[in-house]
Symmetry: C2
C-alpha cells in the first residue's frame, strides 16, 4: 500500500485531497502546521476530520516567527486586515504568506524521510495560480527536483489537483459524498464563515458551479 | 550595497562566510535556527560574533519537532549518540538531520522576501558532499530554481564555499585574520571541543592543512 504524507490545512481543498487519497486506498499521514496564523479554527477542523477518518495526524508547531519571517501578511499580522473580494483583485496580495509552501513541503519531506514515506502531497489548485506563485506547476516541478536531491531517499512532491479549478475539486468531493461542514475555508476564525474573504468567495463559486449548497452557510 | 541573508550556525564555516561577506562590504542579516538540537553552544557563539561584528542577528525558534520530523538523528535525539571518527565513515550517517538545509533555506527565503533582500547564503562546502546530500551543488542548483519561482521576488541561493575544502575555507579566514576561538564546531556542547566527532576531526585537519593552531584546542 502506498504511503503518503499529506499537508492538511483543514480547508476544503486538502479535505478533498485527503479523502481522495483514502479512496485510492493510500496509507496517509497528515501534517498540520501552526506558524502564527491568526486563528486555529482550521486546525480544529483538521484534527476532527483525521480522528473521524482514523488517519495519523501530527500538528507541527513551528513557532510564531511570523513577524520576522512573514512580514505583514494579513493571514499572520494583527496589523494587516484580511481583505474582502475575489482572488483576482490586487488587494488579495496581502494574503500571501511568503514562501509558506516551501516551508511546509520541506518539513513534510523531512518527515517522509524519517518515516520511510516516498511522497508528499499538497492541495495546490488552478484557482491559486494567479495570486500564489508557490501553487504553480513550475514551482511544484522545482520542488520535486530539490526533494529528489536533498537526501538519499528520493522524495516525490505531488499536487494532484494542481490543474483543477476549485469547482472541479468540490465535484470530486461531492462524488465521494463528502460532508463539507467538516472543512473550514474562511480566512477569519469566527463562529461562521465571513462570506467576504477571497477564500469564502472562491468556495461559494465552487459550490455554485456544482449547483450545490455549502453546508457551512 | 548588496544585502544578503546568511544562515549562520555559529560554526567555523559560516563564521568564515559571514566575515568573507563583510569583507566584500555586503550588508548582512544573519539567521540562526533553534530546532531541537542537543546544545545551544553554537547559538551562543553566533550571538556573540554578530554582536561584536555589529550585524543584525535573528534567532528563529522553529520549535522542537525533532522527534517527529527528524527521527533519530544523533544531533537531535537523546537516544542516538554522536559518533566519533571521520565523515568518510558509515557511522557518520546518524549525524544527518533529514532535509535540514531545505528547511533553513525556505525560512531564509521567506525572510528575504519580507525584508527586500535578494540573496540567501549558506555555508555548504566540498567536505560535506560525501555525507550530506543537501550540501551538494546539484541540490543548491535545484533550490535556486525553486527560490526563483516561489514568489514574485526572485530570491537567489548562494553557497560561495561549495567547491572549497574545509582547509581552503580556514585559509580564507586566516588571511582575513579571523579569530577562530569565536566559532564553535563540535557536535557536543561541552566546555571544550570533544576532538573526536566528525566535525572536530574535520576542523583539526583543516587547521593542520594550513600549518595553523586551532585556538579552541
Amino acid at each position: 500500500m502506498k504511503k503518503i504524507t499529506l499537508i492538511y490545512s483543514g480547508g476544503s481543498d486538502s479535505y478533498t485531497l485527503l479523502n481522495y487519497a483514502l479512496s485510492k486506498d493510500f496509507n496517509v499521514d497528515c501534517l498540520t502546521f501552526t506558524y502564527g496564523q491568526k486563528h486555529n479554527k482550521e486546525i480544529d477542523f483538521a484534527s476532527s476530520a483525521c480522528k473521524e477518518l482514523n488517519v495519523k495526524h501530527s500538528i507541527i508547531d513551528i513557532g510564531d516567527n511570523s513577524e520576522i519571517v512573514f512580514g505583514n501578511s494579513s493571514l499572520t499580522s494583527v496589523e494587516s486586515k484580511i481583505p474582502h473580494g475575489s482572488y483576482k483583485e490586487e488587494t488579495m496580495q496581502s494574503t500571501i504568506v511568503p514562501n509558506r509552501n516551501m516551508i511546509f513541503i520541506s518539513y513534510a519531506t523531512a518527515y517522509s524521510i524519517s518515516n520511510n514515506i516516498q511522497e508528499v502531497w499538497y492541495g495546490a489548485h488552478a484557482g491559486d495560480h494567479f495570486i500564489y506563485p508557490d501553487c504553480r506547476p513550475e514551482f511544484l516541478n522545482a520542488m520535486n527536483v530539490a526533494a529528489g536531491l536533498c537526501d538519499s531517499a528520493k522524495i516525490k512532491i505531488e499536487a494532484p489537483f494542481i490543474s483543477y479549478t476549485k469547482g472541479e475539486i468540490i465535484k470530486i468531493g461531492l462524488d465521494l459524498n463528502l460532508d463539507y461542514s467538516k472543512a473550514w475555508t474562511c480566512y477569519e476564525g469566527k463562529q461562521n464563515p465571513c462570506g467576504k474573504c477571497g477564500s469564502c468567495v472562491e468556495r461559494a463559486e465552487a459550490f455554485s458551479d456544482n449547483n450545490a449548497i455549502d453546508p457551512l452557510i
